[in-house]
Amino acid sequence: MSNQVFKIALAGNPNSGKTTLFNALTGLKQKVGNYPGITVEKKLGTIRFSDDYEAIAIDLPGTYSLFPKSIDEEVAQQILCNKDNSDYPDITLVVADASNLRRTIFLLTQIIDLKMNVVLALNMVDIATKKGLIVDVNLLSKKLGIPVVAINARKGKGIEVLKKTLINSLDRSPDYPFLDVGKLFKGAIKKANIIRNVENNYASFMALCKQKLSGELENRCALNQLCKSEDIIPERAQAKETVNRYSLIDKLVKETVKQGEPIGKYMITRRLDDLLIHPFYGYIIFLLILFVIFQVVFSLATYPMDLIDGLFVDIQMFVAQTLPKGLLNDLVVNGILAGLGGILIFVPQIAFLFAFIAFLEDTGYMARVSFITDKLLRNVGLNGRSIIPLLSGAACAVPAIMSTRTISSWKERIITILVTPLMSCSARLPVYTLIIALIIPAEDYFGFNLQGIVMMSFYMIGFISAILVALLLKYIIKSKEYSYYIMEMPSYKIPDWKTVGYTIYEKVKIFLFDAGKIIIAVSIVLWFMSSFSPGDNFEKIEQKWKGHENAEFNINADKLEASYAGIIGKMIEPAIKPLGFDWKIGISLITSFAAREVFVGTMSTIYSVGDSNVKSIQTRLSELKNPDTGEAFFTPAVGISLMLFYAFAMQCMTTIVIVYRETNHWKWPFIQFIYMGFLAYVSSLIAYQLLS
């Protein structure tokens, strides 16, 4: 057994087909995580060459240059420029768009100049051919001094040749630089090499121009001195180098690419753009697309969700009856299975939403959305790509927050994540429905149903507060990134169904495995809190009700009161009294942390105490009297206050976990929990005090 594992990094411009090639090379053997401390996605996969050879492939974030301008690009730069990095590759596989050779070769030659072992995969040859471009692959390979393989990542053409080339290139050592910065900035580079104690002209040049790069900390002073003594202004030097590099590239492209007559209909992009970024129809079409997405995620997803729900009820019943009665039975049924069901229920919405997003990204449409909405949304600190997460938040914040990955600006992405849970998600619906039915008469005003108007107002409250908070955060959150919007608008493509499938698979997997673990753990904690009580309180309760009719209802209600959740509910009563809530609502606030709709169930359990008839939760609550005044407990003041609390409070552990997963830091879900809790408390307080 001589199993040899080496590392391959895929680098290239955004949209050059890196991910498509990565999928083609690795299949489903992929692992997606985060780089430590930041939110850039790290994608690893395994390529099998033969029984003896295996490679770890890493899909680097797309970048136009090795001089990083964003966190994404810095990740690529760190890995490629630092031999000590644990991800430093044995081979760098650069993916280039053959129909866009001039720009795409820029990054390639930078990587060559770092003295890396480079193989070029010339992708999208089919598109180049349609544009009438003929690339002389052999000449290109000779001029660059590296192996070049023409491929079509999408159709899987040339992949086998590419694999062979990769194996054969393992021991290649790079020949000569494409552009010798050592000649361009004679003395300075030599001295920088000495300071950095390496013999790598281009790496030293980069360190000289970007002294802030991490990894150069100890040399920063010396490099700064060197710039001064050699009369080097980093920005000017870098601009000079870039212009020189491009003039060499222009020469190379002239020699190796022939422009013939375009064949086929690549004019399609122009026609579609006439419509899709039209000053009027463009927006109408976008609204229509949003409407369809919303309908599907909101309504269509309920069918598989009900199916999962029903299935879990059956499983829970079955297990409850099969396992011997007792603690284990309860833990499995109400702790683990309930938690598992609570996780799986999200899968349909995640799958549907990502089917749309992957589709829209892959066709190239999302870049157009940014184009037509940039100006409007930037005013409130958001981004053209924030619209879809925000709108999906009206169905469920969990898939919505997962979909913010497509927002490239860190600040706009964080703002979108922070405000999305304010949108009225479908889990608030049962809570609103219950309370509205209690406090709002089912009358018509000017032909409108009053209950409907109130419901609608709460959706509006969610939306408006999301925009206002975004506006506020725009001034609070500081960002080190340049806030430029310089974006390529890729040509339209028919979506690749495989890519769409991979995206859905990947997102569901991340959710189930990364978030699922934490959610199960929290579910078990919540189960514990409502099923245990200090001392022997539970036995006493069972004794007390022995022989009564309807003992089970009363026992359950009393037990909940005596449980840890009940104790906390009572503990927080003084704090929530000014909002018009009693300790029973306090308990419901705690248990509904598992999911907002749990509120209804808890309320129905806890208010059934001492009542010997089986009634619907609604009748029970409407008959409730306030012990102090003797009038109905659920006054409009209490109801509105409670609804406002649910509108603002971060009452969903799944969202908290997913915000952590997506921001890679507990700081953000914490901030979110605090600010939403604050909004909830203050608005409920004001509403209750004014209305009562």
């Binding site: 001089f67 866009n100 820029f106 212009v243 003039s247 037509i372 310089i486 974006m487 390529e488 608008m489």
Partner: protein, 77 residues
């Protein structure tokens, strides 16, 4: 002096220089080198970004940033 933001849709121009340092580096790297020809193909409504066709791909830039890009208009189609 002419800037990119002023050119109407359909004009063909030549890059001259970029005044903002960070913007300059980013645009140079994306192929907007001095002397390179381009065509203005779209302008987003409400003063949104401009899209230009340069070295055979479409690049969009904010209208404000386009004010710091000096160009020469060659002709208008």
């Amino acid at each position: 002096m002419q800037c990119l933001a002023e050119l109407p849709i359909g004009s063909i121009g030549e890059m001259v220089r970029i005044f903002d340092n960070n913007l300059e580096q980013k645009l140079l790297e994306m192929g907007c080198t001095p002397g390179e020809n381009f065509k203005v193909i779209r302008k987003a409504p409400f003063g949104g970004p401009v899209a230009i066709l340069i070295s055979s791909y479409i690049l969009s830039i904010r209208r404000e940033d386009a004010k710091s890009i000096e160009v020469i208009e060659l002709r208008n189609e």
